[in-house]
């Protein structure tokens, strides 16, 4: 499965049981901790900085919009305020400059209106003069507004009280939206005269329409009762009630957040225009204001996601690579430790065997010579030569001495062969030697051993000790696998093709399951765990075979038996060290 290939070698290693190595060899734990700690150290500052940047950028964007809006509100308010003040001042000047009787003269009034229209541009529509009684004394303009009586109207009272009046915008008799500015001029006799001008809202609307407002901005004027005084783009026509709450009074420019009936968030900037009933309002949709912020935000989020993915990927990759390398190195070290241990064990067994053999050889020789002498005396002196029983006893002693001698010689050979030496070897001979070690065991269990050595099998240049260990390991395994009365067959024959010798050792034992078959040469693979098996026997056999340049193959069927085939080359490959020395030389 492809997923399985991604799982590193150390992942399925069981937790070590020993207290001392619980943390040292727990690769999953090491991996988890290194991934966790590195991720935390790398990601926490990144996420923190990104969040701070996010907040700060958002605030910067918002304050930028707010200040821009406030600035536009203030500037527009000033322009509108100035427009009204200018017109009021003009009227004020006219009533002060002209005697009452001049103003009541329609011709003079028409002249003044003409002068006003020419010097102030748009705005003035008509002029009327109203006397103390509230009756209109004179009128010039497009509309027939003569002999009107205003004394009942509230605005008249206001002008009388305050001396000046600016009206809301209204349709009036003319059905055209306009506003009225009126100023009062008191006379020495207590009477007064009011100059009243209608001003069209065209200049306001031009001013508001020409404002450059970002996105879906809307600029308009309302009166204090919440009635629209100019057309609005989104909030109704002139004289419609505004669909937004009327802002609280403030003498300065103010910004408030609101929500329109559609549920959209709005930013409202407003300013009460001094000495008038007007409130200038600029309404912007936050959604649009923040559009550029949303683009920036998307960039920030993308940056964070890509960085986190990249960092996590690198951390995971590096941690896995390093922990796996650690695991592989540990495994290798362990295997070589076991190899060394095995070699040491073999060496000390060898040394002990040799010293035992040496020590025994001398007394053995004496027994042999003494027994030989006894027999010689019997036979040469003819004293007991006819006594078959005595001769038989002496022969038995001599035979045992010979047998013991064979054993000690074999032990000495074994010990000597632990040192690596290359010599001419008859493989068949080595096989016989090895089987002599298990001869007794095989006899007891009635295991039938058949050894066939082909006369064509050549002698090879190899290491006798290693060959002995190889065969001994496999033969021991075969012996353990076969039941009492089973069979072990050994064939030694020339290898097909490349030369060399092949040794085939087969048994009719329990066999090896297919799933275990390609793992049996792995170090520490053992089915005899807990029964004294180290799982190293075949692994060592495998490396020994490779050391002498051979090949080992196994085939097996459960219940039928197992066959090991070892191909040995004619000569041993030069060892690494020798190669290096040669290369250096």
């Amino acid at each position: 499965m492809p997923v399985r290939k991604l799982i590193p070698g150390f992942w399925n290693v069981p937790e070590p049981l020993a207290e001392t190595s619980r943390y040292l060899f727990n690769y999953r734990r090491i991996w988890k901790w290194s991934v966790l700690l590195t991720s935390v150290v790398a990601l926490v500052p990144l996420i923190f900085i990104t969040l701070v940047d996010y907040k700060m950028t958002e605030q910067a964007f918002e304050s930028e919009f707010r200040s821009t809006t406030a600035r536009v509100v203030a500037n527009t308010q000033r322009a509108i305020g100035f427009f009204l003040i200018e017109r009021r001042a003009a009227l004020d000047f006219i009533v002060r400059d002209n005697p009452p009787e001049d103003l009541s003269d329609p011709i003079r009034l028409a002249f003044i209106l003409d002068a006003l229209q020419k010097s102030f541009g748009g705005g003035f529509v008509d002029l009327g003069v109203i006397g103390s009684s509230g009756e209109q004394e004179a009128y010039v303009g497009e509309f027939e507004l003569y002999d009107k009586d205003y004394h009942e109207q509230p605005w008249f009272q206001q002008v009388v009280d305050r001396g000046v009046y600016v009206s809301d915008i209204f349709l009036g008799f003319r059905q055209v939206p306009h506003l009225v500015i009126a100023v009062k001029q008191s006379m020495s006799n207590g009477a007064f005269q009011i100059l009243r001008a209608s001003v069209g809202i065209g200049p306001f609307e031009d001013l508001l329409a020409n404002l450059e407002l970002g996105g879906l901005g809307d600029a308009f004027i309302i009166n204090r009762g919440g009635i629209l005084q100019t057309n609005s783009r989104y909030h109704g026509q002139v004289l419609d009630p505004l669909d937004l709450p009327i802002p609280e009074f403030s003498s300065a420019t103010k910004l408030v957040d609101a929500v329109n009936p559609e549920g959209e968030k709005l930013l409202i900037g407003y300013r009460f225009i001094q000495d008038t009933p007007f409130i200038l309002m600029i309404v912007k949709k936050k959604q649009d204001l923040m559009r550029s912020w949303h683009r920036t935000r998307l960039g920030l989020i993308l940056f964070l996601v890509i960085s986190v993915t990249l960092i996590l990927g690198v951390i995971l990759g590096t941690a896995t690579y390093m922990v796996n390398n650690m695991y592989v190195a540990d495994e290798k070290r362990l295997v070589s430790l076991h190899h060394v241990e095995y070699a040491n064990k073999m060496a000390s067994i060898g040394r002990m065997a040799a010293s035992v053999a040496h020590e025994i050889n001398n007394p053995l020789a004496i027994i042999g010579e003494k027994a030989g002498l006894i027999k010689d005396l019997f036979t040469f002196k003819k004293t007991y030569s006819a006594d078959e029983k005595l001769i038989g006893l002496v022969d038995a002693i001599s035979a045992s001495v010979k047998r013991a001698g064979r054993i000690t010689k074999r032990l000495l050979t074994f010990a000597r062969n632990l040192e690596a030496t290359v010599e001419e070897i008859n493989v068949g001979e080595v096989v016989y030697e090895v089987f002599s070690f298990i001869e007794k065991q095989a006899q007891v269990r009635e295991v039938q051993i058949k050894i066939e050595v082909s006369p064509q099998a050549a002698t090879i240049q190899s290491d006798r000790g290693k060959l002995q260990q190889i065969f001994l390991n496999i033969v021991n395994n075969a012996c353990a696998a076969v039941p009492n009365g089973g069979h072990i067959n050994v064939q030694v024959f020339p290898s097909a093709g490349a030369g060399g010798v092949t040794v085939r050792i087969s048994d009719d034992g329990c066999g090896i399951p297919k799933e275990d078959l390609n793992r049996i040469f792995e170090p520490f693979f053992s089915t005899k765990t807990g029964q004294g098996g180290t799982g190293l026997g075949l692994s060592i056999t495998y490396s020994l075979v490779h050391e002498i340049g051979g090949q080992i193959a196994v085939s097996s069927e459960v219940g039928v038996g197992t066959t090991f085939e070892i191909q040995l080359p004619m000569t041993m490959p030069p060892r690494k060290g020798q190669n290096d020395a040669r290369a250096a030389g």
Binding site: H358, N361, E369, D376
Partner: protein, 124 residues
């Protein structure tokens, strides 16, 4: 044929000498190298059977000294310390030296002796 037997084990040397005597071979035995050198001055031996490991002067050195004084003398080494020798060389070397590992079969020994001496006899 006169044979000199040198082995620090008295029992072994005496028994082997007696067995050789019984087979018609005149064999003297000593237990030290010094005794062997003295003995060799007195008697003209054809062959010496030497133990390799002996106190003070070992078999190999003794062979060297005997060979200097008696160049015609042949040698058979008998040792219990087989592994210190090269087993591939457990055959007669240079026509004058032989190695055997204890315990030695008397018939093998006789055969080796005959091989060594017969060879030299042929040369002369």
């Amino acid at each position: 044929m006169r044979v000199l037997l040198v082995d620090d084990e008295v029992d072994l040397a005496s028994a082997l000498a007696e067995r050789l005597d019984l087979r018609g071979i005149k064999a003297d035995w000593v237990t030290t190298a010094h005794a062997a050198l003295d003995k060799a001055e007195a008697v003209d031996y054809d062959l010496a059977i030497l133990d390799v490991k002996m106190p003070k002067i070992g078999g190999l050195e003794l062979r060297q000294r005997l060979h200097e004084r008696h160049p015609r003398m042949k040698f058979i080494f008998v040792t219990g310390y087989g592994s210190e020798m090269d087993f591939n060389k457990v055959k007669c070397q240079e026509g004058e030296t032989c190695y055997m590992v204890k315990p030695v079969d008397i018939e093998d020994l006789l055969k080796r002796m005959k091989d060594l001496l017969g060879q030299s006899g042929g040369d002369q």
